[in-house]
């Protein structure tokens, strides 16, 4: 019997030996708060381990020594008010000792003092949108892992499922305030290295803040079940030195000007069917295939198919309208703010001509732009 208990204990300790490349403990993180949280976690873990050793120790002692096969005769006691009071009060005192640092850390976390930078974080199925309050910078941040890696036809990269097309960029040593909200269901923005996890509730704003000490790239994930692709909406935060951050802000502003000019130019361009189809397919796979599926069949009863559908083979204005404005009360989002007119034109063209839909018409950026954008 004894060796069985030992082997059980051995098994409890086994996982650390097998998994060398995964951290087995919580990250201490890169902020003052995350350090405090880590310290608190370790303190409580040690207290629990100590209590565990005492309680299980007493139990194992009696399992070994007070067994009938060894001729143990049962004692007769079954009550002791003194002991009962002792083991009510002692845990109570231990709990108070735990509560003190916990309360301090919590109050430090919920510090509402002025922030240097405010960023609005909006979750939607299944991407994050970041908007810098004091700069006219806003963008979506989507999973960058190719579908081929997920489906296993390509080797998975180092940051599989933890990489995005455009990370959130923050400076070090500044108090950054996040205001979380959501466009559809509840999401939760979590970066373990900052010890920040806050729900993004539709219709309401929630607040969290961080002050990062060390430049680097930090990764997290959505932590609240938000539908089909809940597992595929990572968070990547690039933390730069203050000087680099200023440079980045300038770059973003320039890029925005260039992009605006490109959009303006695209309105007068006419692309060929082939050009639209190539671009459209790329965008479709990145933005639409999660629901409507790469083969355009959708998921019956959940997401409608586009192959031979009334929208994709019907009047083109209705098709543009649903992509531009979305459909109320469904998971179909409005893409007006997410894609340029040029991109919408390409993806609509693709949907109308792929999978044997073969409507034959092309849509140009100008058509989309005229559609009440």
């Amino acid at each position: 019997m004894k060796h069985l208990w030992y082997s059980l204990l051995g098994l409890l300790l086994a996982p650390p030996i097998f998994a060398a490349d995964m951290p087995l403990n919580m990250t201490p993180g890169v902020t003052e708060i995350s350090g405090k949280v880590f310290g608190l976690h370790m303190t409580i873990l040690y207290i629990c381990c100590a209590i565990g050793i005492i309680v299980f120790g007493a139990m194992i002692y009696s399992i070994i020594n007070h067994r009938r096969s060894k001729g143990a005769v049962a004692a007769n006691f079954h009550e002791s008010t003194k002991v009962e009071i002792a083991w009510t009060i002692v845990p109570f005192v231990i709990l108070i000792l735990m509560a003190i640092p916990a309360t301090k850390t919590l109050i430090a976390m919920e510090d509402p003092s002025d922030a240097d930078i405010t960023i609005k974080v909006t979750g939607s199925q299944w991407k994050w949108h970041y908007s810098y309050f004091d700069h006219d910078i806003e963008y979506y941040s989507l999973l960058a892992t190719p579908r081929a890696q997920i489906e296993g036809s390509e080797t998975k990269g180092e940051n599989y499922l933890l990489e995005v097309d455009k990370p959130l960029v923050l400076p070090i040593n500044k108090k950054v305030r996040f205001l979380m909200t959501s466009d559809d269901v509840i999401h939760s923005w979590w970066v373990p290295a900052f010890a920040v996890k806050k729900d993004a509730n539709p219709g309401f704003i929630n607040e969290a803040w961080t002050r990062v000490d060390k430049p680097g790239t930090y990764r997290g994930q959505c932590a609240e079940l938000c539908g089909k692709d809940h597992g595929f909406m990572p968070i990547v935060v690039e933390v730069l030195s203050e000087a680099d951050f200023d440079i980045w802000i300038e770059e973003q502003k320039n890029q925005a000007t260039i992009a605006a000019a490109a959009t303006e130019a695209s309105l007068s361009q006419t692309l060929s069917m082939d050009e639209l189809m190539t671009q459209g397919e790329q965008i479709y796979m990145a933005r639409c295939a999660a629901c409507h599926q790469p083969n355009g069949m959708g998921l019956p009863g959940v997401f409608p198919g586009l192959k031979a559908s009334a929208i994709a083979t019907g009047p083109v204005t209705a098709h543009i309208d649903i992509v531009v404005n979305g459909k109320a009360g469904t998971a179909m989002q409005a893409f007006a703010g997410q894609l340029t007119p040029q991109e919408i034109a390409a993806v609509v063209t693709y949907e109308r001509n792929a999978w044997g839909n073969d409507v034959g018409d092309t849509v140009q950026a100008a058509d989309v732009s005229q559609h009440g954008q």
Partner: protein, 189 residues
């Protein structure tokens, strides 16, 4: 001989059933209860849904509160909706007026409902609106625009720890939801 205790069973069953039905009702009673608690304690940043009245009060000029305005538009809402100013400094007790600008891009009449939320949530109870477009549904004719007014003051009792209040509006499209009593805004351009 079975009389007394069959009644005692029945009595107990009736009590327990009443308890269960009462708890079913309690579940629903939690809804208004939650709203009251939220408004009183500022849980979840909810603000009161009716206008408060402003009584002339001493303005605490020694304190400056930063008030930030934020607008979220639900994706199916074809409006532009932005605060006139993003950020302003106010003194507690001071009555302040600002606007949110709304512009409908839709080709038909649309009705919106703005839902306010204040952060930090504890500040919500001290953020008093004497007039707000969020108290009513707002109706905009196709392609028209309007300035939606907001008049508010910050209660001088606002805890010292709070120096910034963020007021966020989320604009919902409720055109299809059978609106009643929407206020028509603006004129067609």
């Amino acid at each position: 001989m079975s009389r007394p205790s069959a009644t005692s069973n029945r009595k107990l069953i009736i009590w327990l059933m009443t308890g269960a039905i009462g708890m079913f009702g309690f579940g629903f009673a939690l809804v208004p209860l939650y709203d009251v608690l939220c408004e009183q304690l500022g849980i979840n940043g909810k603000t009161q849904s009716t206008a408060s009245t402003y009584k002339p009060m001493t303005i605490d000029t020694s304190r400056v509160i930063t008030v930030e305005f934020m607008a979220n538009i639900q994706q199916d809402m074809p409006w532009e909706f932005t605060p006139e100013v993003k950020r302003m400094q106010v003194h507690p007790g001071e009555l302040v007026r600002t606007n949110f600008n709304a512009k409908s891009l839709a080709l038909a009449t649309t009705v919106g409902q703005a839902i306010p939320s204040v952060s930090p949530g504890q500040g919500a109870a001290y953020f008093n609106k004497t007039e707000c477009f969020c108290f009513n549904q707002q109706l905009l004719a196709a392609q028209s625009s309007a300035a939606l007014p907001l008049i508010f003051y910050v209660d001088p009792d606002l805890p010292d720890t709070i120096s910034t209040l963020t007021l966020s509006y989320t604009l919902y499209n409720i055109t299809d939801k059978g609106y009643v009593g929407a206020v028509e805004q603006g004129a067609a351009k």
